[in-house]
Amino acid sequence: MNRKKGDKGFESPRPYKLTHQVVCINNINFQRQSVIGYVELTIFPSLANLNRIKLNSKQCRIYRVRVNDLEAAFIYNDPTLEVCHHESKQRNLNYFANAYAAAVSAVDPDTGNGELCIKVPSELWKHVDEMKVLKVYIEFSLDQPKGGLHFVVPNIEGSMAERGAHVFSFGYENSTRFWFPCVDSYSELCTWKLEFTVDAAMVAVSNGDLVESVYTHDMRKKTFHYMLTIPTAAPNISLAVGPFEILVDPYMHEVTHFCLPQLLPLLKHTTSFLHEIFEFYEEILTCRYPYAYYKTVFVDEAYVEVASYASMSILSTNLLHSAMIIDQTPLTRRCLAQALAQQFFGCFISRMSWSDEWVLKGISGYIYGLWMKKTFGVNEYRHWIKEELDKIVDYELRTGGVLLHPTFITGVKEKETSAPHLHFSIRHPHTLSWKYYKMFQCKAHLVMRLIENRISMEFMLQVFNKLLSLASTASSQKFQSHMWSQMLLSTNGFLKSISNVSGKDIQPLIKQWVDQSGVVKFFGSFAFNRKRNILELELKQDYTSLGTQKYVGPLKVTVQELDGSFNHTLQIEENSLKHDIPCHSKSRRNKKKKIPLLNGEEVDMDLSAMDADSPLLWIRIDPDMSVLRKVEFEQADFMWQYQLRFERDVVAQEESIHALEKFPTPASRLALTDILEQEQCFYKVRMHACFRLAKIANAMVNTWTGPPAMKSLFTRMFCCKSCSNIVKTNNFMNFQSYFLQKTMPVAMALLRDIHNQCPKEVLAFILDLIKYNDNRKNKFSDNYYRAELIDALTNSVTPAISINNEVRTLDNLNPDVRLILEEITRFLNMEKLLPSYRNTITVSCLKAIRVLQKNGHIPSDPSLFKSYAEYGHFVDVRIAALEAVVDYTQVDRSTDELQWLLDLVQNDDVPYIRHKVLSMLNKNPPFTKNTDSPLCNEALVDQLWKLMNSGTSHDWRLRCDAVDVYYALFGLSRPSCLPLPELGLVLNLKEKKTVLNPIIIPEAGACGQETVGNASVHGLISGFQINEEEHPAKDSVSVGSGVQGIKRKAETPLGSPLEPGQVLEKDEDNKVKLKIKFSNSQEDEEIDMDSVHDSQAFICHQLNILERPSTPGTETPTIENAMISMPAAPLPSLGKESSSSRHGEHHHHHHHEHKKKKKKHKHKHKHKHKHDGKDKEKDMFTFTSSPASGRSLNSPSISD
């Protein structure tokens, strides 16, 4: 267990300690998008026989490596470049997930691994034995990096500085290895010297203190020298270079802001608030900001909105806004606050291992929450907590749980222990689905809040202070690098601090929420026992369905009675469902008395609605959200209504608004309307009430009287006194009413009449709002308001009544739709002349057009969206357009569009767009594994597989996105559209171990396959023969297999003749296993995941020899061969030739072979064949006429 290990302090997985690193980038070429530089790592060996140094490096072309000025040999081996061997025909996600996890851990710095292995020259071995310092010097270059560094080079005239070209580092978790060789671990701290030589008109912003900037001799360039004396992990190193405008914060001169040219006024306004955030954090943490300087850089095409690095943050330029913008302001401030919180926890204090990440994410998220509470108020804070809670609960119940502190017991496969429900490994950050990662952060800060509930905020802050002061003491120990591990935070260290400071045992809490995944699901109902004056509460739990867990412990219940509000703490135990709660008030009504609320306030209530026998007004389960739970509580409608009107907690109000959906009655309507009108009520609650009111109005459409819901209210609040159909000229000084004014029309447009159409009155009303909108006298921009009015128009659209799928033309256009279209056209066109902030109006218009298309009012056509999705539009517009294309793909099942989207994923210049396309495809997949779709074909499977297997190796996040999409489309098992059965079963290792003869192995695989016996396999077997002769034209496949065959020949210790079956694809599936066997026989170990990793690495290593990607120097192949004791790898060219020539000869043997083998499973085949014959018949016939059909006769299924 990690925790035990933590007790002993930090143990480095590396046989050396890094103390200092120099990064020098001499040249940044924007034209060619290349970078040249070197790094120098100062390391102290901690083992006497250190002869190899493993470092992380990806993409970098390494020219030379020197150790203490001696040339050193090195190998470069990155199994993550291609996760599964490209010849492999394996297509199931389980297989991939395992292979990917293995590949990632094979280079994981936290286990002491790395892509780059440097051999310490033998001359230095003595030196090493004396534990003397080694200086590892690596020259490298990057050419058009696809990850790590992002170049933004606008294609216009002028010098690079005039064009606003810039470059910045980016990545997901530890991704620094993408742009320079390093130990890419959060737990390896060292001091840094950073040097960047850039164009004289540009600025290089990086971590630490800018010591000086010096011109080069030709005066055309400048070198920026940075020193970072606080020990920092490589993943926290960053760089941004560009012709930035510089703004020194007027309140704090150590803080400097950078933005792209022309945006300085926006930058000034945007950052004018930052000093308050600083003050807040420093005050609550009673600790100064740890670094001497802080820099914020706003860049275009940012990877994420906020990325925090040591002493600097890289933010998206789209966060900048002017003083006229309302909506973006709180969002941007939140981003700034988040960035700063991560400076303390995440950058300054780093994590010990991945399983400790939750502590850092939790603390930074938690103090960010405190800042929110202070800045935006308790209502906003509680509302946010509720939102976050709902999000995590929803996610966990849907996908099966987020585990904060995964502990890995070696030898046991992860799948069986921690996360059997997920399609990815949670062992590494790089294998996580992005959504999971987001939810992980969300849960982390919620759990921190739970801890605070437990030990009080005061203690909590003391713990933080203690952690920070320990770290800052450690950081000042310049030459005692062993002390630096104090700057690393582990789960255990954190818990220890908590128990030291508070003296409380929070172990049960940690066990419940941190060591175990899942949330609690309560179902509550109650009955009032009049005789005993007791409330009989029944609380059931669902702890069997996905993502749930059982809760045992205290639970707070608040009961509002006539005489006041009373808190009760129930003990939730194993088998007690019913809880008796004594009531304080007699049910007799005392009309004159005011009713005291929880906050001491006393109010008058109209009690006529309530049950005469019961003194209960409302009941709340876990009002403080001190359990990560979902509560479904049943109480009468009047109780919800009382709760909505009189409970002062926004969470309670939200809950009751939510619950009232079930009670579409005039009383509910009245309660909601009252809330809407109440100005003291929190604006987000009122906004929520709008939508709920619309729903209720729709549910009671037959009995609804009076004008459409909200109309008279809106008129009263926002329209002119003299003429009720005309809205007042805009004045957004009061933000609450601004938000309400924005929301109400959107909600109103959801109203439907008895024909399920949006009432004419409402549509006319919204059109009038648009017509009379007048912003001339307003201090603020109305772009968001106008955008929401378009959204309102969109919401009013109902499906067209179509006769015989007639083609949509202008002539049969619905008159209402014509009006809507007119507005949209005008808005969209005006936007070209007077663009709105963040093009919000274009975004809304595009959405509206798509909705009109989808509802059959106008012809469905993706070309408009495609033109808006092009590179060169503002990113929000592109996303909106892409979303429409994704939707079109889903609805119209268009192969072309899907292909177009996937091309974008591969080729777009902006990483964020690539990520977004995949996540949208994931959210709205063109088909799922249970649906039949013409899109689902083998080519697509291959393409996606290639994408996640090798096409996205430059971006962890993107790869995981691709995995998510693959999962959404095909599920965990083999895609059903594939005709070939899968044979190689990696998991089925035991079986293989007994089989020595490699000839039998394919069979063993097949056997294992069948025993799995899930539904999808059925289809695969029968499709077998189709696959064999599948594509005779598919040269690459057969060639590849040939190489494989030869390779195996060379490797197989048995020296058995080349088996005939090798040419066939299903054999290739087994190549992985063969290698495992091979490595086994060499190492004489039991096969477990580790050896699989090794073999994976081995395979990929060989691949590297064959087709070296962008790495490394020319001399390496020979060195590799020398270093790893293995039979020489065959020359690729030879292999290819021979394979193609052999191809024809061998297939006969193969089939013979098969007959024999298949006999064992004869009956099964028959069975399956029957099962699937019908489905596959068509395919079979098409193939029998193919030139290779002769072979199909010999294929196992028929020969059986």
């Binding site: 510089i246 007027p250 000034k268 033309t809 007077l834």
Partner: protein, 318 residues
């Protein structure tokens, strides 16, 4: 007799006369159907002139004349007389009078090369014919459309020949007949439709002149969408407020009273703005003097990015 002959020749000429009259009438932009008084006047004058020409012809011994000849001569005479009148008016105005005097006419005639001395003898010649005054003599009513209110008479100290005061409406604030539309609803309605019309016209124009996209394949004109154009730096347009908005903001800012804090911030920002621009200057110009003066101005700001860039050290060769 001679008169009769003239009138004889005249009758058939009526048609052409009428034609020319009609032409004139058209020129004076009156309707053909009903003759306005000014047309009558014109017609009568013309007829008198024709009589004059005819009598002069008789006097010169013609028995008959072609209608075209008479017409031409009439035209000439009319031009001549008009010119005399015009010139005389000019002369009179030149000497700051409104009524021409005899001398004005004399000078005019002299100017036109007419021997004034003979005129008396000519007037008293024996065979001259006396022509009766033209039948229609009512002067055309001057269009009084613009005369509003009472014209002011000259005060006593202004001589009577000076021009009259212009119409009062040209210099006096005249009360309007209709109340301006102050009804809020109508105004808003008007403003809204005006803006909408302008926007629609503008966007239609843009759509007509540029590339468009359409939502309907069969119809490209009803809902023309200006084609999406990519820009090289998309974030600039999307983030920076437009000129219009900036202008609006200035207007509203000046009208609002609650921007004290803003100005404070602004002042502080201004400082740093100066700093950064100065810093750039310093970097570009390598002007150490400037950076010195800068540090004098703002001694408290010490930010590494504001420090001047150092010159490269001259490396000593080892």
């Amino acid at each position: 007799m001679t008169t009769a002959s003239v009138s004889d020749t005249y009758t058939p000429a009526d048609a052409t006369c009428r034609v020319s009259v009609e032409n004139v009438a058209q020129k004076s932009s009156s309707s053909k159907a009903s003759m306005s008084p000014s047309d009558n006047y014109y017609l009568a004058r013309r007829r008198t002139l024709q009589v004059v020409v005819s009598s002069l012809l008789t006097e010169a011994g013609f028995d008959a004349a072609e209608k075209a000849a008479v017409e031409t001569l009439t035209e000439m005479l009319q031009s001549y007389l008009s010119e005399i009148g015009r010139s005389a008016k000019v002369y009179c105005e030149h000497s700051a009078r409104t009524q021409p005097t005899l001398s004005d006419v004399v000078v005019t005639l002299a100017e036109m090369g007419f021997n004034v001395d003979n005129i008396q003898a000519y007037a008293k010649r024996s065979q001259r014919m006396v022509i009766t005054a033209p039948p229609v003599t009512n002067t055309p009513a001057t269009p009084r459309a613009l005369s509003t209110g009472q014209k002011r008479t000259h005060p006593s100290y202004i001589p009577g020949h000076f021009p009259e005061f212009p119409d009062p409406h040209t210099y006096i604030k005249t009360p309007t007949i209709r109340e301006p539309v102050s009804d809020y609803q109508v105004l808003r309605e008007k403003a809204a439709s005006q803006r909408r019309d302008v926007e629609r016209a503008l966007t239609r124009f843009m759509a007509k002149t540029g590339e468009t996209e359409s939502l309907f394949k069969d119809d490209v004109s009803t809902f023309p969408l200006i084609a999406a154009r990519t820009t090289t730096i998309p974030y600039l347009n999307a983030l920076l407020p437009s000129e219009l908005e900036l202008q609006q903001m200035e207007e509203t800012d000046s009208s609002e009273q609650d921007d004290q804090t803003d100005t404070e911030n602004l002042a502080l920002n201004m400082n740093s703005d100066e700093m950064s621009t100065e810093k750039e200057n310093a970097m570009l110009q390598q002007n150490s003097g400037l950076s010195n003066s800068k540090s004098n101005e703002e001694p408290m700001i010490d930010n590494p990015y504001l420090r001047p860039v150092k010159k490269p050290k001259i490396r000593r060769k080892k």
